[in-house]
């Protein structure tokens, strides 16, 4: 008749944290029970057969990379760290070049026409601008000379007016003095005769 304790004991035998006292008890029972001993031997044989498995190399597959890139979206990149930073170089260079082009762009509005130029102005343009500057300077000088002449003319007129006024005043003063003298002489002669 098979042992009634076999299942319970052997089930516990494979437990992870088997109490040493329980283990000793099981081993003692197994040592005295041929049924349990035979079954334990066969179970251990089965586990030994399973443990002899040889790990097999998996077939090569690359789909995991595609999966990764698909799942992680555009953020998935092959290289990382400093290699990632190098990817910014072309973009940075493009931005710099664009900046230089924009800084050298000149927009000129002349005679109702907007002219957009790239790069530095040519020598002809420099000459043209210089001539225009000189013409403007000459115009300003002529305008200043005319204004000065006008002021000179006004000053001369003012001087003449002042001279005439002075002479008129002088004449009036002389007449006044003469009148007073006549008055004094007249008063003197008539007073002496009365008293």
């Amino acid at each position: 008749m098979p042992c009634s304790r076999t299942e319970h004991l052997l089930r516990e035998y494979f437990a992870d944290d088997l109490d040493p006292v329980v283990r000793a008890e099981i081993e003692q029972h197994v040592g005295n029970c041929p049924d349990c001993a035979g079954e334990l031997r066969q179970l251990l044989g089965a586990t030994a057969d399973l443990r002899r498995w040889r790990e097999l190399p998996p077939p090569r597959w690359h789909r995991h990379l595609a999966l990764f890139k698909r799942e992680r979206g555009a953020g998935a990149t092959g290289p990382s760290g400093w290699r990632l930073a190098w990817q910014w170089l072309p973009a940075t260079a493009c931005a710099l070049m664009l900046g230089l082009v924009l800084l050298n762009t000149s927009v000129v509005y002349r005679d109702g026409v907007v002219e957009i130029g790239f790069g530095s102005p040519s020598m002809a343009e420099v000459d043209r601008r210089l001539a225009e500057f000189q013409r403007e300077q000459a115009e300003e000088r002529a305008s200043f000379a005319a204004t000065l002449a006008r002021f000179e003319q006004l000053r001369a007129q003012d001087l003449e007016t002042i001279q005439a006024s002075y002479e008129w005043l002088a004449d009036r003063d002389y007449e006044t003095v003469q009148s007073l003298r006549q008055l004094v002489s007249f008063v003197g002669s008539s007073g002496v005769a009365t008293w």
Partner: protein, 200 residues
């Protein structure tokens, strides 16, 4: 380049978008998952399907890995769940394929056909003795149910404790122990029957 990095470091870099870190992570663990799949399914094609499913699941859930548990434990939990899912799908697919000789639905494992064994495999450096050992193990594993095979896999090959197995499978520790014991007993009986048949 990333060989010296821990799994957790590789996960961090993969999350940052590094395909190299991801490749290293896959290379490091694909062998374990493939062998697990081979032992659970009994054939290489299903093992490869399972491997791909597992890493797809890992890739999709990478942001959920918070490093609280060991990456390997997390990986094998995913592998376990994927294996259960695939087995369930296989059962549904085989509803039209009829029942097996015992009147039960066919499970994940089919008998390890000679073409599935490494002896006839593609590896040129195969070792006949090792192949024989694998054939023997697969022969034993196909004698037990898928649920029992999962417990045996986790206990024998992944060295998990019954408590971890119970938590992973959402069963009691006693149930895990019973499944393991019953599985070993079934394998022993099957071996005895085979020997008896050979002797007769």
């Amino acid at each position: 380049m990333f060989a010296g990095n821990s799994d957790e470091q590789l996960v961090g870099k993969a999350l940052a978008g590094s395909a190299r870190a991801w490749r290293q992570l896959v290379r490091r663990h694909e062998g374990s998952i493939y062998n697990l799949g081979y032992r659970l399914t009994g054939n290489r094609e299903d093992a490869m399907d399972l491997t791909q499913e597992v890493f797809l699941g890992v890739c999709r859930g990478l942001h959920r890995f918070r490093g609280e548990a060991n990456f390997r434990t997390w990986l094998f939990r995913i592998a376990h769940n994927k294996a259960v899912d695939l087995n369930r799908k296989r059962k549904l697919l085989e509803l039209t394929g009829g029942l097996d000789e015992n009147g039960e639905f066919r499970e994940f494992t089919r008998a390890a056909a000679p073409s599935d064994t490494p002896a006839a495999g593609a590896e040129p450096d195969h070792d006949l003795a090792a192949d024989e050992r694998n054939r023997l193990a697969l022969g034993l594993l196909q004698r037990i149910s898928f649920e029992q095979r999962l417990v045996v896999e986790l206990k024998i090959y992944q060295s998990l404790t019954f408590e971890e197995i119970a938590r992973m499978q959402e069963i009691s520790v006693n149930t895990a122990k019973t499944r393991f014991y019953t599985a070993l007993k079934k394998m022993r009986l099957a071996t005895e029957e085979e020997h008896a048949l050979l002797e007769n």
